[in-house]
Symmetry: C2
Subunit: 368 residues, 2 copies
């Protein structure tokens, strides 16, 4: 993996990540494809929307259909028909948020599947094994992501364990020649404790990862704490490596993070909202079910060039939503993903042209 910064404006930067499966222009938004599909979309639609990378989930794919199965079917790219880069979350976050925890030790985590209750034992080594089987372009280290709120002691223990596990991930990956071309990112924990965040990062820096992510944000803490964390961490993360703020997708938060020097983002917000009928437009967020759209012949967003906006009216999309038609979820998702990716493209252009402050100012005024 290669990361090149093409333009810098204070902390704000635009760059390119090159992987075996293609380039990613940063700042980049990664649509979430948990179960080897970005919900409601096929790979062609993702490409049409301009997606350059998607995120998929180690935890989910390990449980179903199983990473060995995906390996046997040629890896995740081939399995899902997506030939561009894939970043895989390590499962750390999901083990704590979705599964029923059984036992937690320095060795790993025993948990029960959220699908069928079966018992599993996840270790840093297994997390790397799974991501190698999937053939991911960017692996994430297996981390301990404590819930919010957590005591200082809990967070401190998680920071230590995350460092220990990051090292084991690094060692494990070294022994996998087939995964050589994939990158491995470390994840900084530390909750809302500034000193623990610094401690967590320091531990990871020694291990020299190809990219650094900030995890344990947007886990329930007040927005102010999240902003504090991103403003703190942005400048501390190595400038020459991609900086990834995990799970953040509110567009104003993304702009603030870009301001702080972050490069990569992922969030289910555009896809989940689409399925619930909440649409992002250049004028703000709208709910497609509103009565005022009943006979509205205009597209979701007059400024949008997505397939949905080129072909269908708000009146039709409202009807599909109220009729709970599958096509509703797809057309709304096409639009929201296109809107998000277009937002990031325009943000990048603004950075390249030295007018990120105007860009941010224009979009800060919109109600999301």
């Amino acid at each position: 993996m290669n990361f090149t910064i093409i333009k810098k404006d204070g902390a704000v930067r635009a760059g390119t990540i090159e992987t075996e499966n293609g380039s990613i222009h940063t700042p980049a938004f990664m649509p979430v494809g948990t179960n080897a599909t970005v919900k409601a979309l096929g790979p062609d639609e993702l490409k049409q929307a301009g997606a350059e990378i998607i995120l998929s989930n180690t935890y989910h794919l390990y449980l179903r259909p199983g990473h060995e199965l995906i390996r046997n079917l040629g890896g995740l790219h081939r399995f899902m028909g997506w030939n561009r880069p894939v970043l895989t979350d390590s499962g750390g976050f999901q083990v704590y948020s979705l599964a029923r925890l059984r036992k937690l030790s320095d060795e790993g985590v025993e948990f029960q599947s959220h699908i069928d209750g079966s018992t599993h034992f996840m270790t840093p080594e297994l997390a790397i094994d799974i991501q190698a089987a999937l053939g991911s372009d960017i692996f994430m280290a297996f981390d301990e992501c404590p819930p919010w709120p957590a005591t200082r002691e809990e967070v401190q223990r998680a920071v230590k364990r995350t460092a220990l596990w990051a090292l084991r991930c690094k060692e494990k990956k070294k022994c996998m020649p087939l995964a050589e071309k994939s990158a491995l990112f470390g994840i900084v924990q530390g909750g809302s404790y500034e000193d623990l965040r610094r401690e967590s990062l320091e531990g990871l820096l020694e291990m020299d990862f190809e990219g650094y992510a900030v995890g344990g944000v947007s886990v329930g803490e007040p927005k102010e704490e999240m902003w504090k964390t991103m403003d703190l961490m942005g400048p501390l993360l190595p400038a020459s490596k991609p900086r990834y703020l995990m799970g953040i997708g509110d567009l104003k938060d993304c702009m603030q993070a870009v301001q702080a020097g972050f490069d990569m983002f992922d969030c289910v917000m555009p896809t989940r909202n689409a399925r619930n009928g909440t649409i992002f437009t250049s004028g703000g967020r709208i709910s497609i079910k509103r009565t005022e759209f009943k006979e509205d012949p205009s597209p979701l967003d007059a400024n949008c060039e997505c397939y949905t906006c080129r072909n269908f009216s708000r009146g039709y999309l409202r009807h599909l939503f109220l009729s709970r038609e599958i096509l509703s979820m797809r057309l709304n998702t096409i639009h929201n993903i296109h809107f998000y990716l277009e937002f990031f493209r325009q943000m990048r252009t603004a950075i390249m042209e030295g007018r990120f402050p105007e860009f941010r100012n224009r979009w800060e005024r919109v109600e999301w």
Copy 2:
């Protein structure tokens, strides 16, 4: 509307129906788009599968979103982004099968909406009004479709009322200059009573419809009775007009109906089965959830050229189905609709080349 028979082989025929919105090659299968969408598919996918006409539902669109709304948004074609022919069922069947009936008289039917329980009064005139508002290419007359089983007296009354209503539909449509280019088909009722079927047809023939449909089949009666009805009616329906067997979609039944001289078919079978994971292939029907497909890298059907078969493995499709992903319903539906339409294209080619018996014989041996 123009109907031309291009090839005849005994009772079997291949032809072309020309409408304002394009041509339909017969024998034709019409995918069902109840709520102004063929479930899980967009208009582009229908075209890619080769659909030349779809069926939509007067009853459903009248209740939601309302025919006036669709009229105001430019008609059904524009509303749903489909610029090829549309046939609209009259609502007769749905009023009896879906709604809660309140009162039935020669004037019309009072019923309660299956959506919100609201009370409505459907008449032949309203059914035509709705279809005109939708801008359908082929209107169906409003009929009384008695349930199965029904007494001879009930069926006889339905036959008489269907004739009365057919005439009122015809008269109503005459007074609508904007609907002039649309065709109107009459519907033969009469249940399993041969003499009542004959009586029903005779009444309709006097009114000279542009096409004739056989309704009240596949409403719960034994298959043998349905076959008897189609074998009886095929030769009796006017040879120069399209003959439409309503709601039939079992492929062997379709072949038998083509043998009896029918030209048009509709059924939810390919779409509904797709959503339930039941797939039609040249080798027969398969359930995608079967364990044997777990690591199967092959497409649903090696002989199929649909988008799904060109891009995805059985292993992936099984995973999507078990994960209840929306993409599962879409990819399965793309395949099943493509399979059905390809089946009909090949059947038509066989007729054109004088080898329908071989075609039928080959497919009769497959387990559906």
